[in-house]
């Protein structure tokens, strides 16, 4: 969309507009909600439906015209008149064919277009919703499920208009009007000509529903198979180290055979239904030919009428067989739509409160006041209780404790990734819940232990939080994080693509990139959440030295297992079971001779005596 480049897209816009549109339809049944969303494009819907009606009417005219032509040719009129009549019929038929083609095109095109437009809006809604749902939601939902919602469910909803709704109209007219025409011409023959329809419709519908059910199972089995292969290939060293090839092939064969069996079953279902449908169709055609033939011989009917019955059947055959697809489309739209709407209707737990103000930074002081916290999934298991501390600009706070003691939770509460359950967190006296999320998160950077690398070049990855940044600043940040030299050593330097499908970085390199990324934000509060665990001690030392000047203008919080990372802090908090059990400077805590001291001994003098003493 380069042509619309300078729109105000990058200043606050209304990304939620499509989410709201979906939510406005809530309270109705799923299929109605899909229809309501479709109706956001009324002109396209109207054109499509009109085209469908016209196309199916023209379609019905063809057998009639052919029958007339046959009768005209069979000499029911005399010589010259007959010739003229033939010309007239031929011209009308030609016109009808062209018209049918054009309106069918319009029906199909606009039918699909409606679906694509609706899908486009739903896509945006899903994407925005994913971005805005808080951590506690993403903690409990598997990423694969979200991908299913965003890809497969969306597809099911998209197809509904064209393969479900339109088919109903088309079939309704073809069968309804067609049946009326046939039955008014000849009741018996009409019934015979239509006799295949109920059976084929039934076979087709049950087969489609079974195929859909088995398709879902087959997908699971194939996923299972690909998981077996993926694990094997990813862990090929373990497999070979333990001479596990035979065992692995067995595992593979079990998964593969199960999938193959089901695939064969599906072939059976499909083949049985198609050959049964073909047979039924032809059988009723034979009956029409027989009974109709008798009538022609008896002089009760013209050959042309018989021919029009037969061609009418050929025209009806395809749409009736597709009835199964229509039924399938309804079933699919209903389940997919259910999941999709349930997702889009979710309440976002953490968002700007009404009347939230932008964060105003003055002193740059961070304060925890009697903070309690429990995860929403386990509200009765306190993770933090009564945590209070204060950090002024330029100060460094070190936090240490066992895994699961609640250290990282402290980091997550500052940018409001989770909501405190008691007490409050303030920055310059403003409760984090009273300020806007975007200004808060710009002011607080949490460097996580493991963060996501985007499949793009290193430069873009570092500038992820500030994509307008200039090159020099990116280079500075990576110099601070001790990553610059490594990057310059790569053949393509900052242009090197990393991430899932690019060059893979070691754990330590990823962590350093992560640090550089957070530095780009120029945050008022910078939290290192075990973010140097994979960086070696020497490099960490150099990062710390580089950061010293940077730390003057902000609050720095260091959470780590490694005491060397945080023993220079102005204040060290020792957390256990969600409470601060010891606090003070490194010297004070050593003096105290408590838990901190024990940990220090363990890390710095790891002889046998300490191992035993620690037991």
């Amino acid at each position: 969309m380069s042509s619309e480049a300078p729109r105000s897209a990058y200043s606050p816009g209304d990304a939620m507009v499509h989410v709201r549109a979906v939510q406005n339809t809530s309270g109705r049944s799923t299929l109605w909600r899909i229809m309501a969303l479709t109706w956001r494009h009324p002109w396209m819907v109207i054109i499509t439906i009109a085209s469908t009606i016209i196309a199916s009417t023209l379609q019905l005219a063809v057998p009639r015209l052919l029958g007339i032509a046959v009768d005209q040719a069979a000499g029911l009129l005399d010589g010259v008149k007959a010739e003229e009549a033939l010309w007239t019929t031929a011209m009308i038929l030609f016109g009808v064919s062209v018209g049918r083609g054009l309106f069918t095109m319009s029906m199909n095109y606009f039918g699909e277009a409606v679906g694509h437009h609706t899908a486009y809006e739903l896509r945006l809604a899903v994407y925005e919703k994913i971005q805005r749902l808080s951590f506690s939601y993403h903690d409990k939902v598997h990423s694969g499920d979200l991908i299913t919602v965003g890809m497969l469910d969306l597809e099911g909803v998209r197809m509904f208009f064209a393969t479900g709704v339109l088919r109903v109209i088309l079939l309704g007219i073809l069968i309804g009007v067609g049946a009326f025409m046939l039955l008014t011409t000849d009741v018996v023959l009409g019934l015979l000509a239509l006799s295949f329809a109920p059976f084929v419709a039934w076979v087709s519908s049950t087969a489609q529903l079974r195929l859909r059910a088995t398709w879902l199972t087959l997908q699971e089995m194939l996923q299972n198979l690909s998981r077996v292969m993926e694990e094997n290939l990813g862990g090929i060293r373990v497999v070979r180290a333990f001479a596990g090839q035979k065992h692995e092939m067995q595992k593979y064969d079990v998964a593969s055979d199960a999938a193959l069996r089901l695939a064969h079953q599906r072939v059976d279902i499909r083949v049985k239904s198609t050959s049964a449908m073909n047979f039924t169709f032809f059988a009723s055609m034979a009956l029409v030919l027989w009974v109709g033939g008798e009538k022609v011989i008896a002089g009760e009917m013209t050959v042309g009428t018989l021919a029009s019955f037969l061609t009418f059947m050929t025209i009806l055959q395809m749409p009736v067989r597709q009835l199964g697809l229509m039924v399938n489309s309804f079933a699919r739209a209903s389940t997919c739509g259910n999941r999709l709407f349930a997702f889009l209707d979710l309440e976002i737990e953490i968002k700007d409160e009404p009347g939230a103000q932008p964060l105003k930074l003055t002193e740059g002081t961070l304060r925890f006041e009697n903070v309690d916290f429990a995860y929403p999934s386990a509200p009765f298991r306190p993770v933090l209780s009564g945590v209070s501390f204060e950090a002024k600009k330029g100060e460094t706070i070190g936090i240490v404790g066992r895994p699961g003691s609640g250290k990282s939770t402290i980091a997550h509460l500052i940018p409001r990734f989770y909501e405190v359950t008691g007490g409050r967190v303030t920055i310059d006296g403003q409760d984090v819940r009273a300020v806007t999320l975007d200004t808060l998160r710009k002011a607080v950077a949490v460097v996580q232990q493991d963060s996501f690398l985007f499949t793009t070049n290193i430069e873009n990855n570092i500038a992820y939080g500030d994509p307008w940044a200039k090159e020099q600043r990116i280079a500075r940040a990576s110099e601070y994080a001790q990553l610059h030299n490594y990057i310059m050593g790569l053949p393509t330097g900052y242009e090197t693509i990393v991430g899932e499908r690019g060059v893979s970085l070691s754990g330590g390199q990823r962590q350093r990139l992560n640090i550089a990324r957070s530095l780009m934000l120029r945050p008022a509060v910078m939290v290192f959440d075990d973010s140097t665990a994979a960086v070696d001690a020497g490099t960490e030392q150099r990062i710390r030295t580089a950061m010293k000047r940077f730390a003057k203008d902000r609050v720095t919080i260091i959470i780590s297992h490694r005491l060397s990372s945080l023993m220079h802090a102005d204040q060290i908090l020792f957390i256990d079971e969600g409470k601060i059990v010891e606090r003070g400077t490194h010297a004070e805590l050593l003096e105290l001779g408590g838990r901190y001291r024990a940990l220090y001994d363990l890390q710095v003098r790891p002889g046998d005596d300490v191992l035993e003493a620690a037991e």
């Binding site: 805005r132 060293r237 034979a286 985007f454 070696d536 790891p606």
Partner: protein
């Protein structure tokens, strides 16, 4: 680097924040593996594919025969109708008796049609599935044996797309190529029948056929491109969505939602546009085909009708013509589409054969020995030179011996060749020069399986498979009893945390152990090595910082694991290094020094330098390893 550049709010920068962020993308910056449209027919690849089809050739012959019969019955039906009209219903014809015979013939034909359609689709469908599964199994089986250096260079994702995607795209090809035989027969059958019924009317009616051919010829390339474009933008949008899901925490931490939304909107919009364009291309054929059908029908009515009037043509023939015209264009449509299916299949076939052709470099010698438990358990490197790329040796003339029952720690900076030593003991690669012996036998003289039985390995990244904890611990020895597993877990100190899991030893491990901590995974992999009960243990210690409590457990487990075994440990942790009987220091692929801790400290070489540099771990120093090494060498000389 000055403070100002990083910290100050640059005015010019803040001003242009309304413009498109120059450094922002969502979704992969890499293009999807371009679908190469190769030749539609490549004899070499067809031969390779045929090798997989060959075992099922009887089924294929049968279904081709069924397709022929099926098509012939399809062709026959309008002829029977014509016969019934002209001979049964026409005045002066045979009357009811002939009509009855025609109906009997009709029923007979559709019974044959029923049987043929069943056989054709069922046999070819099932055979195609079997061929696919055979292909995939052959590839997977081959990958179990190809050299690790090839596996190292190849992304798992890329292999998976070959194992799943390329194999699946062969399916369409296998199924439709038999059916396209039917299309061809139908096309020529219709032409033949029409000419036979009435050559003049036939020729005039079919005049529209080449028109459609020519139209399709011009239509196909741009249409195909528009379909591909739609496909590409769709995967681009889906890729961006997947990224948004997996990276959501980072996105929120760095407050990128607004920017990402608009970038995603662009991708989604491009996708919308391309799909609408593709729909236009697909649908524009509808009125063209309908117009041509209309022309043909009008011709039959005017010309055929006049012939009927002039008694030059039976009315039944005219009806038959009208029936055939309805089926006229179907085979042309599917045959022209078939061309792209062939092209796709050839490029998939190309990629599949590439995988099957990867050479297997390491194989058991004919008559290779079986290494047994009663060998002495020593490991020796004799003048080993080895590398991964030509002229770039990673190990240079390295010799050392690990005596039975001894624990030797290998230390050195990244790139010093530590991991290569470990891989060589297991014969993941073959040495260039010199030899590696285990229990006195050259590793090239023993079977790989027996070597795997006697040398247990613990990797730096503990790799767990989907399955229960129990299955993971007895991964190597599936015959191990539950008691043996529990015993091993107790010995390495993993029992306590395992029993505290939801289902104890039967707890399912998900997503490669994502529900366990790194330390716990490490302990499970120790238990796994203990159950394997090998004489020799090769271990690459984890570098990542584990919390001190777990680390203590691991240290104790390690001790237990090395008891009574020969141990070769790539060590990073002080405690491990100090606990070893001997320390070997590698640097740039050369053995620099060896001895125990005290001896090496006295030497004042690289070891003592590394030792004083680090605090509590012996991690690698990626960036300044070179300077360090130089400094150390400078000191030593």
């Amino acid at each position: 680097m000055t403070e100002a550049t990083l910290n100050a709010e640059d005015e010019s920068e803040s001003e242009d924040r309304r413009r498109r962020p120059p450094r922002a993308v969502v979704g992969s910056s890499l293009d999807k593996e371009e679908e190469i449209f190769g030749k539609a027919y490549d004899p070499r690849i067809v031969r390779r594919i045929w090798a997989f089809v060959r075992p099922y050739r009887k089924q294929i012959y049968l279904s081709v025969a069924a397709v022929l019969v099926f098509t012939l019955t399809q062709l026959a039906i309008p002829l029977i109708i014509r016969f019934a009209i002209d001979n049964g219903m026409a005045t002066g014809g045979g009357g009811r008796e002939i009509l009855l015979w025609a109906i009997v013939g009709f029923f007979f034909t559709i019974l044959v049609n029923y049987g043929a359609s069943y056989i054709q689709e069922s046999v070819v469908g099932k055979a195609a599935e079997r061929v696919l599964f055979d292909m995939r199994r052959a590839m997977f089986n081959h990958l179990q044996r190809v050299s690790l250096s090839w596996m190292d260079k190849t992304e798992v994702g890329r292999l998976m797309s070959r194992l799943m995607g390329d194999v699946n795209s062969m399916q369409e090809f296998l199924e439709t190529s038999v059916l396209s035989v039917g299309d061809l027969v139908l096309l020529f059958g219709i032409i033949g029948v029409l000419l036979w019924l009435d050559p003049v009317l036939g020729l005039v009616t079919m005049a529209t056929m080449p028109v459609l051919f020519i139209v399709r010829l011009f239509w196909l390339p741009p249409a195909k491109k528009s379909f591909m474009d739609a496909h590409h933008t769709n995967s681009a949008a889906n890729g961006a969505l997947a990224e948004g899901i997996n990276g959501v925490r980072t996105v929120q931490s760095l407050d990128r939602q607004q920017v990402n939304f608009h970038l995603y909107e662009e991708k989604a919009h491009a996708n919308l546009r391309n799909h609408l364009r593709a729909a236009k291309f697909a649908q524009v054929m509808v009125p063209i085909v309908d117009t041509l059908t209309g022309i043909s029908m009008a011709t039959v009515i005017v010309l055929g009708g006049q012939m009927v009037l002039g008694r030059q043509l039976d009315v039944g023939v005219m009806v038959a013509f009208l029936f055939y015209i309805q089926r006229f264009f179907d085979p042309i449509r599917s045959l022209t589409m078939q061309y792209s299916v062939f092209q796709r299949a050839m490029s998939s076939g190309q990629r599949i054969t590439e995988v099957l052709d990867v050479p297997v470099t390491i194989e058991d010698k004919p008559g290779a020995l079986k290494l047994t438990y009663d060998m002495d358990g020593s490991v020796e490197f004799k003048n080993v030179t080895f590398g991964y790329r030509k002229n770039q040796p990673v190990l240079k003339n390295v010799s050392f011996r690990v005596n039975p029952g001894e624990t030797v720690a290998i230390v050195g900076p990244t790139g010093s060749g530590k991991s290569s030593c470990m891989s060589l003991v297991h014969r993941f690669y073959d040495v260039w020069e010199g030899s590696v012996t285990v229990g006195g036998h050259d590793v090239r003289d023993v079977t790989q399986e027996s070597l795997g039985d006697q040398v247990a390995m613990v990797l730096q990244e503990p790799f767990l498979f989907t399955g229960t904890v129990l299955e993971n611990i007895r991964y190597h020895k599936t015959s191990a009893t539950r008691e043996q597993v529990i015993e091993a877990a107790k010995a390495v100190g993993a029992h306590d945390f395992i029993t505290s899991l939801a289902d104890g030893y039967d707890t399912k491990i998900e997503q490669r152990g994502g529900n366990l901590s790194l330390g716990q995974r490490q302990l499970i992999s120790f238990a796994r090595a203990l159950v394997a009960d090998a004489k020799i243990l090769v271990l690459d210690e984890a570098t990542a910082n584990i919390d001190s409590y777990t680390e203590m457990l691991i240290q104790k487990a390690l001790k237990r694991l090395l008891e009574g075994r020969t141990g070769l440990v790539i060590a990073h942790r002080l405690a491990t290094i100090r606990g070893a009987d001997r320390i070997i220091v590698l640097q740039n692929g050369e053995l620099l020094e060896s001895g125990n801790h005290d001896e090496l400290m006295k030497k004042q070489g690289l070891y003592s330098k590394l030792y004083t540099m680090n605090y509590s771990s012996f991690d690698d120093l990626p960036e300044n390893a070179e300077d360090m090494a130089a400094a150390a060498v400078g000191k030593a000389t």
